[in-house]
Symmetry: C3
Subunit: 188 residues, 3 copies
């Protein structure tokens, strides 16, 4: 391919040894548990999902519902409030803390992404940044929330949109990257 | 999080009891059948898929093909014409009627979405709206059709685009939300 | 639906008999192997994945890593360089040659799409076009690369963006269709 004197990516020198999300055995046990009880179409009762998630360190408020085929990376980095919905095929790729408020809706197929890479370094350094989703927010079907983003109270990210920066309270955002479209007004 | 006097979402008061898509036992039987025969990589012959889908109330025209790993919510809300293709990993999330014409192509990974929520109400009321996809239309890979949309004859929704309103006949639409890009001309 | 004298799509006359990607038995064996060892959450060692992929004709350079639940259509149309990463849930839909360089990152959930249809013909003719992804490029999570595209050295396609034409070296591209956003500068 092209010849260049520019600095180039060298993934053989990638070093994420500073990142220690938990012991190997805990990660392995969760990997299996996730596959058997959470990331599956078998419709386990919420009590079963809650049992395993809290056993591995998640906080899950009362009334919260998790649909089938949800993929959760590390439950010990997950806190969810009350009466929140996590839809079918949602992918919670939480390499670090994901804090979800109450009365939040994560619609089917959405992706919460906490890992990134520093593309200005040849070693493509890992960057992890927490995500916060405040009360009453709605993440639309197949939408994506990027690392470090705060989705403020009652903000809406529309279907398949991509939040690359914070979403203001009661704002409705659309597109890739998501732009403010209009204000959400709750009439009753 | 923030203090406000605004009306806020309260999903503990969510009430979709008016929505009755079918008896519990029918839903349960379909859930299992879908997982075993339709939403699977096991490459069952089309005759087997047709048998189960029509048993549960779907209309499927002759020559129509359904690839592996297609996820269908309720077959009794599905009518498909002749010589239509439903690609791998297509997600038919039909809480209400989905009508697909003949010679339609639903490419791999696309999503047909009939459920929505009224985000102006604190109870986040469920809204279901039918989708119609007319003859000769093409829904591109990973594209999404939103509730209530009619995709008119021979319209094209390009890869990963999102149809939030009706697509006109022989129009090609792109983006999120999808905008008219150009006219489709069939030369032979 | 509408009455028209225009030429209309007729998928009953679709003819892809010219497209011969390999013997039926080879396709069938790979279909099963893919499902058992590659397109699965079972975390097989890379040596096992490499064994089966190279057995079926793929070239995989040293240090390359393939995460779980990767879907590969035809490994005999796949060449990957060294120290490249293929993330969880990546979909390599390679109906023809996909050439990936070294030190490339394909992030989770991205789609490489080599098949298209000629929507100007009533027979919706199959079109297959190779994809090339050069050294050091980064395809973001859930992004899509369309048929015939060359992603040049160290280009970046951001999260959920869609590359419909070639991406220039060291360019960062965003949106659907992806537009040039800025230049990637590697500082060290």
């Amino acid at each position: 391919m092209e010849k260049t004197l520019k600095t180039q990516t060298d993934l053989s020198r990638y070093d994420n040894s500073w990142y220690q999300p938990g012991s190997f055995i805990k990660q392995l046990l969760w990997y299996v548990t996730n596959r058997l009880f959470i990331n599956t179409y078998l419709p386990y009762p919420m009590a079963v999902k809650r049992f395993f998630l809290t056993l591995f360190g998640a906080e899950i408020g009362k009334g919260t519902v998790i649909k089938p085929k949800v993929n959760i990376k590390y439950p010990w980095f997950l806190a969810v409030g009350e009466h929140t919905w996590i839809g079918e095929n949602v992918w919670i790729d939480n390499l670090t803390m994901l804090t979800i408020g109450s009365n939040v809706c994560l619609s089917q197929g959405c992706l919460l992404l906490t890992g990134n890479h520093d593309f200005t370094t040849s070693t493509f350094d890992l960057i992890v940044k927490p995500i916060t989703i405040e009360n009453g927010a709605w993440i639309g079907a197949k939408a994506t929330v990027c690392p470090g983003v705060t989705v403020r109270s009652h903000a809406v990210l529309t279907v398949d949109s991509v939040a690359t920066s914070d979403l203001e309270a009661f704002g409705i955002y659309q597109g890739n990257p998501a732009r403010f479209a209009k204000t959400r007004i709750l009439t009753r």
